[in-house]
């Protein structure tokens, strides 16, 4: 029996934050996010922004891989599409007033990403599992290749990359990282909230049903075609949004930023955090971004700033990244979310036995 878990109506029983500890945790996190810019230094803001951008994309992958059970190893490409669409469209729609531009460009970029998502998702209707993983991987290689082509260089900048615009929301120019933090945080929280909501309704449940047993979902009237493609569209759209923010956040984007490494980072963050759980991506993104930074800092201390030794940093980061992923797969396949669940559960039962 969990303490204080007596419900008097269906409405109360359907709440997500159904006990005090969960409420305190979530509201505390939100408060911390709101107050963060008041005490954080530039470095902390930079890290927080990076996490927010990556988080939106990982939530997208979570919808597809975590909830619908369709594995993709190519979602970096959708982030690329979102980022490049934002830049290209901003340069095309110069007739629009600057303050309105993001409200047109970002939805368009997200929509383009979602459309490409549907096209890439088409093989998912015929193949499952690793065939799909390879199909998405192949699609992402093709997307990255096209971005790099000389043919499209007038729009994309080709291999040398392209400068990005500064977002202007109705006259408010977000030209500092601290202002971007506000935008990124709001969108990241909304993405999480939207996803949580999605999985309280028939649409989200249908995704999970397909993951758990597809023929049984069909027998309940769930069209595999419709819902698989919908899942692809949603996840690509989130990745596209993440890409749009990526473009706004950095002064310049390069094709190499969206290659295989990014796709793997997305999947790794999801597995480390916990697949198919709302908070999984949050934990995962935190680990995936904070650990390499810790390595960089500690390598810096250990070598005393010796530049000769600095070049070992990147390979060590890479190895540790792989090891974290492998460690979680072997020891805690359900991710950090499983660990926090255990802690919350025993907190609820306190002072009674854990279990």
């Amino acid at each position: 029996m969990i303490n204080g878990n007596l419900k008097a109506s269906y409405g109360a029983d359907e709440r997500v934050l159904n006990n005090r500890n969960k409420q305190m945790f979530v509201y505390g996190c939100l408060l911390l996010l709101a107050l963060f810019p008041l005490f954080a230094d530039d470095y902390a803001i930079l890290m927080a922004c990076k996490m927010g951008i990556l988080l939106i994309a990982v939530v997208g992958v979570n919808v597809l891989t975590g909830y619908t059970g369709l594995v993709s190893l190519g979602h970096g490409a959708f982030v690329a599409i979102g980022a490049y669409a934002t830049v290209v469209l901003s340069n095309l729609f110069t007739a629009l007033p600057e303050g309105v531009l993001p409200f047109v460009v970002v939805p368009c970029a997200v929509a383009i990403s979602a459309l490409v998502g549907i096209v890439v998702g088409l093989p998912s209707l015929r193949v499952k599992g690793l065939y799909l993983a390879v199909a998405t991987l192949a699609a992402s290689f093709i997307v990255n290749f096209l971005i790099e082509q000389e043919l499209f260089a007038p729009w994309t900048g080709g291999v040398v990359g392209i400068n990005t615009p500064v977002p202007n929301l109705l006259g408010w120019e977000l030209d500092t990282k601290r202002e971007m933090y506000g935008l990124i945080t709001v969108l990241a929280v909304l993405t999480l909230l939207g996803t949580q909501n999605l999985f309280r309704t028939r649409v989200g449940r249908a995704f999970i049903a397909i993951r758990d047993r597809d023929y049984s979902a069909e027998i309940l009237g769930i069209s595999l075609l419709r819902y698989k493609l919908m899942s692809f569209a949603i996840s690509a759209a989130f990745c596209g949004l993440s890409g749009a923010l990526f473009a706004y956040f950095y002064a310049r984007i390069l094709p190499e930023q969206f290659e295989l490494d990014l796709s793997l980072e997305l999947v790794a963050a999801l597995i480390v955090g916990g697949m198919g759980r709302t908070m999984g991506p949050v934990f995962g993104v935190f680990i995936v971004l904070i650990v390499p930074e810790l390595i960089k800092i500690s390598m810096g201390f250990a070598t005393g700033g010796d530049l000769e030794m600095q070049r070992y940093t990147a390979p060590v980061q890479e190895i540790v990244f792989g090891l974290i992923l492998v460690f979680f797969l072997l020891k805690e396949p359900l991710g950090i979310n499983q660990i926090t669940d255990r802690i919350l559960r025993s907190a609820n039962r306190w002072p009674f036995a854990r279990g």
């Binding site: 088409l122 065939y131 199909a135 991987l137 793997l264 070049r311 990147a314 890479e318 190895i319 992923l325």
Partner: protein, 334 residues
Amino acid sequence: MGQFVQFAINGLMSGAIYALIAVGIVSVYKATKVVNFAHGYLIMFGAYFYFTFAVVIPGFEGAPAWLASWQPAWMVEMRAGLSMFSPLGAVLDWVANLPRIVFGLLGAVVCNALLGLLIERSLMRPLMGQSVFAMIMVTVGLISILSGAASLIWTADAAFVPHIAPNTPLRFELFGTMIFLFGADIVNMVIALLIFGGIVAMVKFTKGGVAIRATAEDQSTAYSMGISVPKVFSRAWILASATGAVAGAILATRNGISPSLGLFGFSVLAIVLMGGLDSYVGVLIAAMSVGILEAMTQWKMGGEWAEIVPYVAVLVVIIFRPHGLFGQKEVERI
């Protein structure tokens, strides 16, 4: 027409190497139901091992001089009378390199096999019988581990590595055009096809091969019939990494050594899926077709576009034949 033949032959030669790489992926899949996403990085290790044993170690001060370059008296004599680019000269160059080529190949095969065994024992074995998804994701994690480890170990710029066979240029006329080939490429192709054929024969006709096929059919039944499934697992990994070492050595002589060799594995993965994961014949045909398609793309559209040929091809094949050209559709019981 002559151009066409030239490019088709080039395509067949790279196709054979794709097939050699693919055989590693297929063998591991047959035995363990795991698709090794990091196979390209195993191959990269093979290439670096070959470089280490064929170039770095012979270059050490303590290493015997004949290991770096074998110059017996009769060879010096023969060489004296030769002109600069004579075919015999190329053969003599090869003979002089022979000790370090053999040393390099042996070292690469042994070290890579040990690496494969290590990966299987420490990362795959604990997940055996649990989750195929987790095992596949472990190989995804391996990509980062192997690629980081390679750039940590081999920091020096990789220099030229010796060709496996005498690299005599060959010219002959076919359909009225000159065809131009390198001797080493032909030998590489022959080696690749021989190893491919050898492995297929082994799986078909030997006792160990039967064990692999039985395990592929049904792991738990094979286990209960007295086949040591763990042994099949480690053998498959050793086989994959040993063939990968040869492939890596060949690739090192063709394309040079760099961390980007790992990416090669993904195009081969695409080829394997095209052919149908569990069919050696299908994979051979897919490898050859992609090799030729790539060469044709190179001819008509330029070298860059050849890069994405395998990916476009696999997407097209998957949409029309979801389980590859020769793959078996798994029937799901309801």
